[in-house]
Amino acid sequence: MNFNLSDEQQMLRDMLESFLRDRFPFEARRAQVRSTATESAIWSAFANELQILGTSLPENVGGLGGGPTENMIVMEELGKALSIEPWLSTIIMAGALLRDAGAKAQETMAAVVDGTAIVVPAFDYFPGSFGKDDAGVSIAANDGGFRLSGKIPVVRDAARATHFVVLAKDAGGGQALVIVAADAPGLELKTYQLVDGVGCADLSLNGVEVEESAIVARGEEAADRMAEAFNAGVVGLCAEALGIQRMLLQWTVEYAKQRQQFGRPIGEFQVLQHRMARMLIKVEETVSMTYLATAHLENRTSERAKIASAAKVMIDQAGLFVGQQAVQIHGGMGMSKELPIADYLSRLNVIAQQLGSTDFHFGRYEASSFEKKAALPVTA
């Protein structure tokens, strides 16, 4: 039992941290969010300079064979920089959906590793909707191939995707995971931006045609892959939230030492000292839960879904406290665009809803802790 990082993992962290500090200062982030470009210099550098896109992917797609720990390290650093790169969608979740899933899947992920493809799971990142009538994609055999129709709301990173992985149902209710090119005829995106700066889209598939080879998994295997991708995604979010919380705490402490009111730094007031100590406790609990959930993924324990949900609950709660208190202690400055505080808080707010709300994960934890069911529901 240990939470130690290997030397290679420590090097990955150091390298990424210094790269993002140098090349992705907050002004660069603001500019990236404002622009509508689908190219990203940062992602290109990940592919070509740092060559890290394959860190956590298997060797059969050109990866280095790492896993959840490497993803945790990257996500924490992306969180610290408030990066909007699609690591969660493309490396973690699509990586889990397509791992060892046949020729087409491997070819697609190989393109991810060399930076030429961005694969995005086309499923509702914010499960739950106003009336569920029109959501869901159907698949039907058609002329030697297959035909996909339906809608998927609020797909993150959609604007940058070169491929989607769609979960579709056939007439008999059987599930299939299907790779769909973003430029496939019949695929339409209605794009918009969320408050965390990430481009999302509602997808409409109007008779999109795919070949048999595009189907990477069916039936129970498709559901299992969805569950793996979901758990890995949730833990990735936790690591991202950890990076965000760290920065908010650090800036708040620095600000409190320097901001003078009533003739002394506000950091000398006992009430604020204790509040920042509470923030640190929350951050350290976030560290503990992120490590623990990552280790459960790494060991593929039978409790990994339960612990992932426990982690999401705790980290959402911690994020709420850390984010709100960061703003409160910064006073008006915490709301102004002169500082990145509100941007970081906004991302925490989105995370609290992403891949299942806090209440959803509470329910998932309870189902596992109280009802002793073998399988846990992924989304609905």
Binding site: R34, Y125, F126, P127, G128, S129, F130, G131, K132, P153, V154, K190, Y192, Q193, L194, V195, D196, C200, D202, Q260, Q261, F262, G263, F269, V271, L272, L320, Q324, V327, Q328, G331, G332, G334, M335, S336, K337, E338, A342, D343, L345, S346, N349, V350, A352, Q353, G356, S357, D359, F360, F362, G363, T379, A380
Partner: protein, 401 residues
């Protein structure tokens, strides 16, 4: 003990409700749909209608052009305005500066400044906070020196910077705290000036807040000449005015009527949105419990507010209840925004396209911009004396600690 309304009070409520139903412009409702930022003209449209009816200065006595309502009537009026989801009226003049002028102003100042407030002819902003003087308001440094102007009259020449000035871009006038005696200690040496916002030397620059509308500003004052007769109360007595005013501000900040309206909106949203398990959110036990907690706290807030009103109308000093109302009022409002963000989910997180007057919602309208509004609500526990300051006031005044 009695919680019923009298027949007269019920009739009064019906009168208010009927007036709003008949007079609130549909065009205003349409303009503000989808979370668009209100324009100056939007605000003034409704303020003029109220002013014409004599109801704009709702808290004012008849002698100054108000309707002379009882505190209960004022509460009913606020409830009805909010319940009908009308645009807020700019209140810095009516609620804050006006009472100071009534209390401390000269007959000339009253005659000159109060009627335009009542008639929606002057828009006021507040120039208190400075970059180095937030919670520690008494440490303001904006300087006002007495000089003789080119016209031979006495003026204050004002230099300095104010910040977090709400809607200053719309204001005709501002009431400012300035330092008139730099050698006096903190609270001493401050004066209360009324400054024409069109004066040469004033610059208003927006402070950009994330996802917020253009609400707060920096106000720069460079050699602004303010006639000496625009000072309210004696020189160096500005802190007395400020304290008087902050008490008034605090009672407004409890903002029960508005939070009640927002909870109603939240309930409507929770009736509509489904959670991840397909249940309408108001049927999900955990979310329902959060709403119940919020509602119960709000019921207590309203009762506390009512106790403060009762004290005030019986001539008793409500004392620390005011600081409690500010503290709890802001916290409960923030909870409302927090739960609304939660209920709206991704539908409340879409940002406005740049330069647009609103957004194209991806879900129903109820949750539009919930995330922006949540973020904006964080100011409620910061401004008007942060909640930390309020707790210290409570400890000192009510508990003698």
């Amino acid at each position: 003990m009695d919680v019923s309304f009298t027949a007269e009070e019920e009739a009064f409520r019906r009168e208010i409700r009927a007036f709003i139903a008949a007079e609130y412009p549909q065009s205003l409702r349409d303009a503000l749909a989808n979370g668009a930022e209100p324009t100056r003209e939007n605000y003034l449209t409704w303020m003029r209608i109220l002013a014409k009816k004599g109801w704009l200065a709702a808290s004012w006595p008849k002698e100054y052009g108000g309707p002379g309502w009882s505190l209960t009537q004022q509460q009913i009026f606020r409830d009805e305005l909010e319940d009908a989801d009308t645009i807020r009226t700019a209140s810095m003049g009516i609620a804050m500066c006006g009472p100071v002028i009534r209390q401390f102003g000269t007959a000339e100042q009253k005659a000159r400044f109060l009627p335009p407030m009542v008639n929606a002819e002057s828009w006021w902003c507040q120039g208190f906070s400075e970059p180095g003087a937030g919670s520690d308001l008494a440490s303001i440094r904006t300087r006002a020196e007495r000089v003789v102007g080119d016209d031979g009259k006495e003026y204050y020449r004002v230099n300095g910077q104010k910040t977090w000035t709400t809607l200053a871009q719309h204001a005709d006038w501002g009431f400012f705290l300035v330092r008139t005696d730099p050698d006096a200690k903190k609270q001493k040496g401050i004066s209360f000036l009324l400054i024409d916002m069109a004066s040469p030397g004033i610059q208003v620059r927006p402070i950009e807040t994330l996802g917020g509308d253009r609400e707060v500003n920096e106000v720069w004052l460079e050699d602004v000449m303010v006639p000496i007769e625009n000072r309210v109360h004696d020189e160096n007595e500005g802190w007395t005015c400020a304290k008087f005013l902050l008490e008034h501000e605090r009672s407004a900040i409890a903002d029960v009527s508005r939070t009640k309206r927002r909870v109603k909106n939240l309930r409507a949203l929770a009736d509509e949105r489904h959670d991840e398990r397909g249940s309408v959110m108001s049927d999900a036990p955990a979310f329902r419990r959060k709403i119940a907690q919020l509602e119960i706290e709000l019921i207590a807030l309203e009762a506390t507010n009512f106790r403060a009103l009762t004290d005030a109308s019986n001539g008793r000093d409500p004392g620390p209840l005011m600081s409690m109302l500010k503290t709890r009022g802001s916290e409960i409002a923030q909870s409302t925004f927090e739960l609304t963000q939660e209920a709206a989910g991704p539908y409340g997180m879409v940002t406005p396209a740049p330069e647009s007057g609103g957004i194209q919602p991806i879900g129903p309208r109820t949750g539009v911009r919930a995330a922006d509004h949540y973020l904006n609500s964080r100011k409620l526990s910061i401004y008007g004396g942060s909640n930390e300051i309020q707790l210290t006031i409570i400890a000192k005044t009510a508990l003698s600690l």
